[in-house]
């Protein structure tokens, strides 16, 4: 038997693409967000509410990841912002190279915030750095307050947690305080917002914070 020593990261290629994306985005002062959640937690709805509130003040571009369709990209395009669709054809996550290709289709000189809406999945996207400044994880109250404990890697890697569908709490067996505590136990530095895209609860606070982050990224 002979042995060839390798000691390489399995995802070294992805990490190289991610590093280049990050350099490109940072150099232009763009705040890049990687928006992740389970399917149906409300990523696209949150994006719609955010665009409705901020698009006159801040230049937002969107990269939409989807397994099969461009339905979400159509929803976002109604707000008149630049949007690039990536269809992964069954692939369960976005990779940095796909994002690089999408970036080439955007005019990065006219972007303050880039939102990358990942494929609905809380497992795989945790492993794949896209070159974002931060991951925003959306957990909805319908998923239960123990959800953070089931996806610790995603919660640890995220900078912000949005507890979405907060308006449904009266009808559910989910305590948002427990959900928050479970998430903070895994990642104490997490910034937490409670939001509803139906009643707009918390959307103003979230957008206000986003604006501050975008101006910090520009400096």
């Amino acid at each position: 038997m002979s042995v060839i020593t390798i000691e390489r990261k399995v995802l070294e290629k992805n990490e190289e693409f991610a590093r280049r994306n990050r350099e490109m985005l940072q150099a232009r002062g763009i705040l890049a967000l990687n928006l992740v959640s389970s399917p149906g937690a409300g990523k696209t709805s949150l994006l719609e509410r955010t665009l409705a509130m901020l698009k006159e003040e801040i230049r937002i571009s969107v990269i939409e990841g989807d397994l099969q369709t461009d339905l979400d990209a159509q929803r976002v395009a109604r707000f008149g912002v630049p949007v690039v669709q990536i269809v992964t054809h069954g692939g369960c996550h976005l990779e940095a190279r796909l994002v690089r290709d999408a970036l080439e289709q955007l005019d990065l000189e006219t972007v303050d915030i880039l939102v990358i809406e990942n494929v609905g999945n809380l497992v795989c996207p945790a492993n794949y750095d896209l070159g974002e400044a931060m991951k925003i994880v959306l957990l909805s109250t319908t998923e239960g307050d123990d959800k953070p404990l089931k996806y610790p890697e995603m919660v640890r890697n995220a900078s912000v947690l949005l507890i979405n569908k907060i308006d449904l709490v009266p009808y559910l067996n989910c305590d948002p305080a427990v959900l928050r505590r479970n998430a903070l136990q895994i990642n104490p530095s997490l910034k937490v917002f409670e939001t509803s895209c139906t009643t707009d609860a918390g959307i103003r606070e979230w957008c206000h914070w986003l604006k501050k982050e975008a101006s910090a990224a520009r400096k």
Partner: protein
């Protein structure tokens, strides 16, 4: 299903390090996979076998070493194993931790069968 993409990445790394004519001699690919990486070893094994079927790497097997999650408390410097997603210091209940291990997702080395020179 990201195990499929992981398996593809592993095969590419092997192909970059093993000369094409030696690919059939690859006996084992040793991997270090942390509990925090979200990889299911059985699933990775399944995807790998499916990808290498009827290729030069068909005989290669994956040897997976699982790395448990260990952390250090930033406040009291206690080191401990993290179980059941309890990311809290058992000594001082602090929540500010540095993860020491468990994120690993590495190809460690590749084991090759010595080729037995056959007389023609």
């Amino acid at each position: 299903m990201h195990e499929l993409s992981m398996a593809q990445n592993i095969i590419e790394i092997v192909e970059r390090h093993v000369p094409r004519e030696s690919a059939a001699d690859v006996a084992a690919i040793r991997l270090r996979i942390g509990e925090l990486s979200g990889i299911v070893p059985e699933s990775l094994d399944f995807c790998f076998s499916a990808l290498v079927r009827e290729t030069a790497l068909a005989e290669a097997r994956l040897e997976i070493e699982r790395i448990p999650i260990r952390a250090r408390c930033i406040d009291c410097l206690a080191e401990f194993g993290v179980e059941e997603s309890r990311f809290l210091c058992p000594s001082c209940s602090g929540g500010a931790l540095e993860i020491l291990s468990g994120r690993d997702l590495h190809v460690v080395d590749i084991e090759l069968h010595e080729r037995i020179e056959k007389d023609s």
